[in-house]
Amino acid sequence: MANLQFKALRKSFGDVEILHGIDLEIQDGEFVVFVGPSGCGKSTLLRCIAGLEEISEGELFIGGQQVNEVPPSKRGIAMVFQSYALYPHMTVAENMAFGLKLAGHSKTEIAAAVQRAAQILQIESLLDRRPKALSGGQRQRVAIGRAIVRKPGVFLFDEPLSNLDAGLRVQMRVELARLHADLRTTMIYVTHDQVEAMTLANRIVVINQGRIEQVGAPLELYHRPANRFVAGFMGSPKMNFLPCTLVSATERLATVRLKDGTPVTVSADARGLGDGAALTLGIRPEHLLAGSEAGEGRARTAVRVAEHLGDTVFLYVESPGSPESLTVKALPENRLGMGDPAHLSFPPEHGYLFGPDDRTLPRTS
C-alpha cells in the first residue's frame, strides 16, 4: 500500500528532454491510467517510477519516501511489461517464485504465495508448464501473477493488453478491474487506448509531448476537457473540429460562423474574446445531427461514406467550407447514403468552443 508523489519530475536522454516537469499526486489504492499518443513519454514516466530509468531532475516519493536513488527492487513496486518478459527457461511456478527466491524467502512461504496468486488468476493447472506452451492470454496472467506474488505497494502496467486480440483484451480488462477491487493496491497503468483508460481508471492522466494535459475522473475528462487535445483524445470516434469565427457572445450563449457562413450557437462563455476571433468548434460524433431537411442554423454538405453497423450508422460527411471529413454517429433509422446531401445541425448544449490557444472556453450548460 503506497501513495505516490511527483515533484517537477524531469527526464532527458542526452540533450532531448522527454518529460518536462511532471507534478502529480496519486492516492493509496487508486487506479490511475496514464494515457497519451505514442511517444508522449508515458512509458518513460512509468519506467522512472519503476527505477529502470534515472530521474534527471525533480523528486519522486513512494509511500512518503524519496526514491530517486533507490534501486527497483527496493521501491515496493511490481511491473507487468508489454511483452510480458517471462523467463523462458523457467516453469510458470518458477517464474512467479523468482523474486521471492532472490529475496531469500523459505520454500513453504514461496509455494504458498505462488499457489495463492495462481488461484486468483485461475492458472493453477499451468504451474508446471514453460511459457512456450502458453497462449498469449495465459502468458499475460503469469506476468500479472509474478507481480502479485511480490505483494507490492504499487503495481505498474506498461500497455499490458496491447498484444492480445480484441476479445481477450475485453476479458482481461474486466479481470484487471476485478483484481483492483480485490487487492485495493495502488495501480498505475499506461495505455494509448482511451477505452481502456475510460473503463479501468479512477483517475486518468492525459499526457502529451512530455506534459500533463489534464488529470481527472474519466467522465470529467469526457464532459469537461481542458483543451482541444484532451477533447480530441478522449471519446471514440474522436470529436469533430470545425474552424469558425466569433460573431457575438453573451453570458450563456456564443454565436459563431462556420467557414461556409452557417451561424451556430454554442452554450459557452466567449465574452473575453473580441468579435471575429478565430475559434474552433468541437462536437462529438454522437451529438452531431445529420438529416435530409434544410433549416435555420443547419449547414448543407454531402455524405462521403455511410457505414451501417446494425445498431448505429457512421456517416462521414464533408466539413462545411473545408476539405476534411466530419463523423456523425447516427441512429440506424437514418437513411442517408453515399452522395446524398446532408444538413448538419449542432445542438448548442453539446458544442465546445476552443480559443486561439486551444483552451476550452467555459461551458454554460
Binding site: A50, G51, L52, M79, L102, R130, L134, R139
Partner: protein, 296 residues
C-alpha cells in the same frame, strides 16, 4: 507442407541432387583416403582407396602397443601419441572453458552496459583479430619466456602458457556472443531487476540459461581451435612429453622418411575428441530457448 511442383522442375531437382552427391563425395574422399592410408602396410601416401591387405601396424604404433620387430624382439613405439592426445584434450578443454568465461562476461558488458570507450574497444577487438597469430609468434615466445622467469608455471614448455595464449584469442567470440545477446529482449532482464536481481544475478540466472546454444557453439569453436592449433604450440612447447597432437605429429615427417601411415592413424585419433565434444554439445544446442518470453 508440400508445395505443388511443376513437372519441368523435376530435372532441376535431379540436377540439384546430382550436384549435392558429387559435393558430398568430394568432401568425404580425403577422409576415406586417410583411413585407407592408416590401414595400409608400409608408409605410402598414394595407392588404392581400398587397400589389398589390411595391416594394423600404424594403429599399434599410434595406440602405443608394442609390436614384433624384424629381429623378433618386441619394440615399444618411440613416440607417445596417446600422451599427446591427452595433452591436446587437456589444453583444449581448459582454454575453451576460460575463453568461454571471458567472452560471455565481456560480451555482456558490450551488449548491455554503457561505458566510455565502448565503440573504440569493440573496433579494436575487431581489428586485432584480423592479424594472424603467426605474425606475433616471436613476440609470444619472448613474452612467455620472460613470464617464465617470474612464474615458471606459465613459462615456455608449460601447458599453462599455451592455455593462457589460447584464451587470449576471443575477440571474434565476443562479437558473436554480443550479437546473440542483442537478440534477447532487454525487458526480460529488466523484469529480473524489478524482481530484485543484481546485474550479476540477472546475467547468471536469466541471460546465460537463455544463451546456452551460442555458448555451446563458442565452446566448440574454441575447443576445435585449440586442438588443431600448430604455430603457437610448436613454439611454446619443447619437450616431447609436453607436446600436443598437432605439434607432435610433425615428428612423423622427417626429410628422409615420411611416416604417412602412422601420421594418418594419429590424425584420425586427434579427430576423436572433437567428435565426442560435438556430440555432447549438440544436446544443448537446442533452438528456440527464448521462445515464450514474449507475446508469441
Amino acid at each position: 507442407m508440400a508445395i505443388v511442383i511443376d513437372k519441368s522442375q523435376r530435372w532441376r531437382v535431379f540436377a540439384a541432387h546430382l550436384f549435392l552427391i558429387v559435393l558430398c563425395a568430394l568432401v568425404i574422399f580425403p577422409l576415406l583416403m586417410v583411413i585407407s592410408i592408416s590401414l595400409r602396410p608400409g608408409n605410402f601416401a598414394t595407392g588404392k582407396l581400398i587397400p589389398e591387405t589390411i595391416s594394423l601396424e600404424h594403429w599399434r604404433f599410434a595406440l602405443g602397443i608394442p609390436s614384433m620387430g624384424p629381429d623378433g624382439q618386441m619394440i615399444k613405439p618411440d613416440l607417445p601419441v596417446l600422451l599427446w592426445l591427452w595433452n591436446s584434450v587437456k589444453v583444449a578443454t581448459i582454454s575453451a572453458t576460460v575463453a568461454l568465461f571471458l567472452s560471455t562476461t565481456a560480451a555482456y558488458a558490450f551488449a548491455r552496459m554503457k561505458f566510455a570507450g565502448k565503440k573504440a574497444a569493440l573496433l579494436g577487438l575487431m581489428l586485432m583479430q584480423m592479424f594472424p597469430t603467426v605474425l606475433a609468434l616471436i613476440a609470444i615466445h619472448a613474452i612467455f619466456s620472460r613470464i617464465g622467469h617470474v612464474f615458471p608455471l606459465f613459462g615456455v614448455d608449460s601447458h599453462w602458457a599455451l592455455v593462457l595464449a589460447y584464451s587470449g584469442g576471443i575477440a571474434l567470440h565476443i562479437w558473436t556472443i554480443k550479437g546473440f545477446y542483442e537478440t534477447i529482449p532487454g525487458e526480460i532482464e529488466e523484469a529480473a531487476t524489478v524482481d530484485g536481481a543484481t546485474p550479476w544475478q540477472a546475467f547468471w540466472r536469466v541471460l546465460l540459461p537463455m544463451s546456452l546454444p551460442i555458448l555451446m557453439v563458442i565452446f566448440l569453436l574454441a575447443f576445435i581451435g585449440a586442438i588443431i592449433e600448430y604455430p603457437q604450440a610448436s613454439v611454446l612447447l619443447r619437450s616431447q612429453d609436453k607436446l600436443t597432437m598437432a605439434a607432435g605429429m610433425k615428428q612423423f615427417l622427417y626429410a628422409q622418411k615420411y611416416l604417412w601411415g602412422d601420421f594418418a592413424a594419429a590424425a584420425i585419433l586427434s579427430g576423436l575428441p572433437i567428435s565426442i565434444v560435438f556430440i555432447l554439445a549438440q544436446r544443448w544446442m537446442i533452438s528456440g530457448l527464448t521462445s515464450g518470453a514474449n507475446k508469441g
